[in-house]
Symmetry: C2
Subunit: 650 residues, 2 copies
């Protein structure tokens, strides 16, 4: 209901605006996604280090569910003997993790307002790198969601093998459930996330701890009844190419490491300090778990398979049976993967909204739905991720080659942006401060070291990007190599459109458009009845120059129309167009086209369409929806106004 | 292109109409369904007896492909020993055929203009029986198409058993192909139909003849490797109920017998004479083939099966192998079934158009497409028949119970109408002539005998209708028993709507509606730019009472709009409606609702919507299609005119 103002009240001389406020009505949508929330309800909540770790670590820590497995999968091509390379490669990946972590430490301190790769690249490198980072990140979020639910489904079927045939629907079901939860607007409210995250950490550390203890006491043994390994026909020798591909898969352990630097504002003060500590904790935990799991997998001779995950093999070997501890490990792993999927749902729509705000994506993505979330972005992610899961049969191994290019490209651009920033800072005169949106620039001592650190980080991640693109090109990386430039091109096309539009519609630049002086009205009729008279009355009130057009499909009927028009038409000109091929819309459109092409300057053309409004919706099926089709056909015609004049039986 | 008239020419005082003629442009539809045809191109072709037999016999003769098989299927429940009942039952069916044929002879003579069951019932019995006949016939045509293609598919897989798994797609493919052919507008042009029909007759008579010859010379033997019979668990004794169900299935041999009486106008003069002779020929051929095949099937101990038709079993037993003659028999049978399907495509749309012309079905069904055919009716038949084939797995046995009720109900109504007609004729004073559309009534001697013949025909077919409905009720006849009254109800609902509409819109009855005196214009805006100015200019030209409405989603933006409006708004009243839940359409609609409910008598309300028209279609994706959704939401609102004023960048 609209409050205080009575819209019927006449305009008062000096009042040019009135304010009313709208309250929504409940409907089926309320039941599905909850009551609408006011814009003013958007709240801001800050967290400490312990909860912050839980909030931001889901994505990164969930890597331990698939990174060790995918490392082994690549080595499988060279036979189980090659599995011994897994641990050394994991150590190299851990070193890379350390470099990236140190590099991001600096981002956190420099961007207390939150420094995602898109922001950093935009502020320091310009539009093109920013849009490259944006496109990469959007693609990443989609793949994160697809990979995480696929891995979650794999964990579930490992514990309950009778579900193996339902892996794809299971994964898609999870994507859509999490989508629905996000459309309702799940807040990343600290405690709800902290409990499952710490549960996962506890059970995973227990598994690694017990495993190492049993290894050192010599009671660990190997996997009983390992699953069958799916490999190609012939076992190849261990080549450099295989090792590079293995390393490429291992680098997926680093995905999600940037989350903390994006979310600095969510931390309690001193926020940069808290965020930095949290990042170090997160990286350390990840390193320990990743190395520990990879080491134990080698010891127990785990076999990578689509039917049972190596986490499951590890669990039943370490804990001795498929008992409560084993199930807790699977449950914890599944939960952390679901939290990682949720991260994608939080990140994708927000980033899309930021890019849309900058005018590189459709504006609609900036509108928040009734639950204060970017509903369109959430829905888009849900649909695309579901399709990916469907077409890649929920196989993590098949999805991985598409993924890490975007991740490392955005790392590279982010670090490069930071490096550029230090360079600018190093060349500022003392005392000068440049304020930007999320940070401010002033001269700092020691900028050379910081430049070196971020520069080295950029170099390392750039090398990994190239390695990944080359090593996995044929496995699917080519899709991303083609997709990213296409996306960036699209972003720019959208941007050009908006820029041009704003320019051309500007009143300040061009002033008020010239006013039309002459008004020609055309009205199609199919018969002469009370509805026609209502529309004719309307048409005549618009202009003295009215033409009524009758498309003749049937000679008899046309004669009747002409006769009736003589009686009722008030002398208004009637044009009859014979349509020997019994089409209605086309001849009328052609007539309008001609009229338009011959119009005078400042002439305005309006088409008045009598529109029958039935009492019941199904009555529409009993009438040719000429007005509707005509409107559709004229939608893209320039300079012609269409008026639908309703008439009904009452 | 529009010919002679220049639409720009000013109205001359005494000319109230101008005529132009439209010529169509070629498009992808031209390629798919052919060049458009003019209404004047509709031609009329007449045929002699020999070709007439071919044109009208497809439906009736094709029954021999399934009627003998379905007779055996019902007996199968009582074991193969019960098959001996098939021939006696076939003789009863043949007697029924004779009765119906004699009855229809009289219809042909009485209705030289074509006497379908719908016409005869409408002219003699009134609306309700006519609509019952109409509904029955429409349902029949759909089932004819479904049964005929299902049987055709069964013939094909009998010859090529590797196609057995593809029976359903095969049948649906045929339905759709014949649909496409009919959308192009196949004429039932004599020769094209005559050749395959006579090919079918020749090969079928050959099979029956050779079969009988080998039977009498004792060389026929029985079916080798008969297919497995699909029957229930226990063999039941032969009960009256089983015999009634068998008879019911046998009566499907009569379907299509009415075709000649519908199409009397297609015959060369003396047309009633030629048509009558053709009907007798057709019935005789049908009787001989039906009895001959049923007899031979008993002799060779054929077994009904979904995997091989009895026609196929007969063919390979009579001809000794799966050679050329066998394949010709299968091909001939398949072709006659396809012709029967084509009959459905010819009959359904025409009948639907006649019923629509009488105002009991949507008017759109009377429009002929660019190829002069009733495209909508053809498409409707194709879709419904495909769905039936899909849901009944292309099984003739499953479809049959739905079929014959409608057929015999329309027979009954047709004969009853004829009987009523003779009664009327018998009571006319000599010399008095009553002219009706397709025939004329004048006193005739011997009307009592004719009344007796048609009355007896009506009685027999009525009894068969009841037997069929009861005996097959549980097998699917219940669907039709429920569907027919529902359809008739729907026809009447449609009729009432049209009648009411014509009454209420009548100028002769009510005269010109009162004219509006006051005009209130409302225009929603999202921002103030050149597009808004174009629309404001338009709105102001309609009325002095213009209100501009801005739905406020964002406080900042609203302030900017208010400020700009002060500068550019020409003092037009601006109403701001705050929408804290960020919806746009709902608050605006509520405002309009209030305005409408408070309007003065004779007040007219117009909503002017500024509509951005992009240069390229995909640019639409970059704009919220507010105008479109608004138009959709207001579609069913009474008394409010909507005007879309386009603006574009050029």
């Amino acid at each position: 209901m609209t409050e205080p103002v009575n819209p019927q009240s006449e305009p008062e001389p000096n009042v040019i605006h009135q304010v009313a406020r709208y309250k929504p009505v409940r409907s089926w949508r309320t039941w599905l996604i909850g009551n609408p929330l006011r814009s003013a309800d958007a709240e801001h909540q800050t967290v400490g280090k312990a909860v912050g770790l839980a909030v931001f670590a889901g994505d990164a820590l969930s890597s331990v569910a698939y990174a060790p497995q995918e490392t082994l999968v690549m080595l499988a091509a060279a036979g189980t003997a090659a599995f011994s390379y897994a641990f050394p490669i994991a150590i190299i990946v851990t070193v890379l993790l350390a470099i990236v972590t140190i590099s991001y430490q600096q981002t956190i301190h420099a961007y207390p307002g939150g420094g995602g790769a898109y922001t950093v690249a935009r502020d320091n490198l310009g539009d093109l790198p920013a849009q490259s980072a944006g496109a990469s990140l959007l693609v990443d979020y989609v793949l994160l969601a697809a990979v995480a639910v696929s891995s979650a489904a794999a964990q579930i079927v490992s514990a309950y093998p009778f579900l193996i045939p339902y892996r794809v629907p299971l994964a898609i079901g999870m994507v859509l459930l999490i989508m629905l939860a996000n459309l309702r607007g799940v807040r990343e409210s600290g405690n709800a996330v902290a409990i499952p995250t710490y549960f996962f950490l506890a059970i995973t550390f227990l598994a690694v701890g017990v495993g190492l203890f049993r290894y050192f006491t010599g009671t660990l043994g190997v996997v009983e009844n390992p699953p069958l390994m799916q490999v190609g026909a012939a076992i190849q020798p261990v080549t450099w190419f295989i090792l590079l591909r293995t390393f490429a898969n291992g680098t997926t352990a680093l995905t999600g490491i940037e989350a903390v630097s994006n979310g600095v504002t969510a931390f309690k003060e001193p926020r940069t300090h808290n965020a930095a500590i949290t990042l170090i904790w997160m990286a350390s935990i990840l390193a320990v778990l990743y190395l520990g799991i990879t080491f134990l997998l080698g010891v127990i001779q785990a076999v990578p398979s689509e039917d049972e995950t190596v986490i499951s093999e590890l669990g039943r070997t370490v804990f001795g049976d498929r008992g409560l501890l084993y199930l807790s490990l699977i449950a914890g792993t599944t939960i952390i993967l679901i939290l990682a999927t949720n991260t994608a749902y939080a990140g994708f729509p927000r980033l899309a909204a930021i890019i849309a705000q900058d005018g590189f994506l459709p504006r609609q993505l900036t509108f928040r739905g009734s639950r204060l979330v970017y509903s369109r972005g959430i829905a888009a992610l849900g649909v695309i991720a579901s399709l990916l899961v469907y077409f890649f049969h929920a196989s993590v191994t098949a999805l991985i080659p598409l993924w890490a290019i975007g991740v490392f490209l955005s790392f590279t651009l982010s670090q490069l942006g930071m490096a550029r920033r230090w360079w600018k800072i190093g060349h500022l005169a003392p005392g000068i401060v440049i304020r930007e949106k999320g940070s401010s620039l002033r001269y700092e001592r020691g900028w050379q070291v910081k430049l070196l650190i971020n520069g080295f980080g950029a170099l390392c991640t750039a090398v990994v990007t190239v390695i990944f693109a080359v090593a996995k090109f044929r496995d699917g990386a080519w899709i991303i190599v083609l997709l990213l430039p296409a996306l960036i091109y699209l972003f720019y096309a959208i941007h050009r459109h908006y820029l041009r539009l704003r320019h051309e519609l500007s009143l300040d630049r061009y002033g008020r458009p010239s006013q039309a002086r002459r008004h020609r009205v055309v009205m199609p009729i199919s018969g002469v009845h009370r509805g026609t008279m209502i529309a004719l009355d309307y048409a005549s009130s618009l202009s003295a120059d009215v033409t009524v057009v009758h498309i003749s499909l049937d000679e008899e009927e046309t004669k009747a129309v002409q006769e009736k028009w003589r009686e009722w038409g008030s002398g208004v000109r009637l044009v009859v167009i014979e349509s020997p091929y019994r089409t209605f819309i086309e001849p009328f459109l052609e007539y309008i086209d001609k009229l338009y092409s011959q119009r005078q300057p400042n002439e305005r053309i309006t088409i008045v369409v009598p529109q029958f409004v039935p009492e019941r919706w199904w009555h529409n099926l009993l009438h040719t929806q000429t007005a509707f089709w005509l409107r559709f056909a004229l939608l893209f015609k320039k300079g012609i106004a269409i008026t639908e004049v309703p008439y009904q039986v009452d």
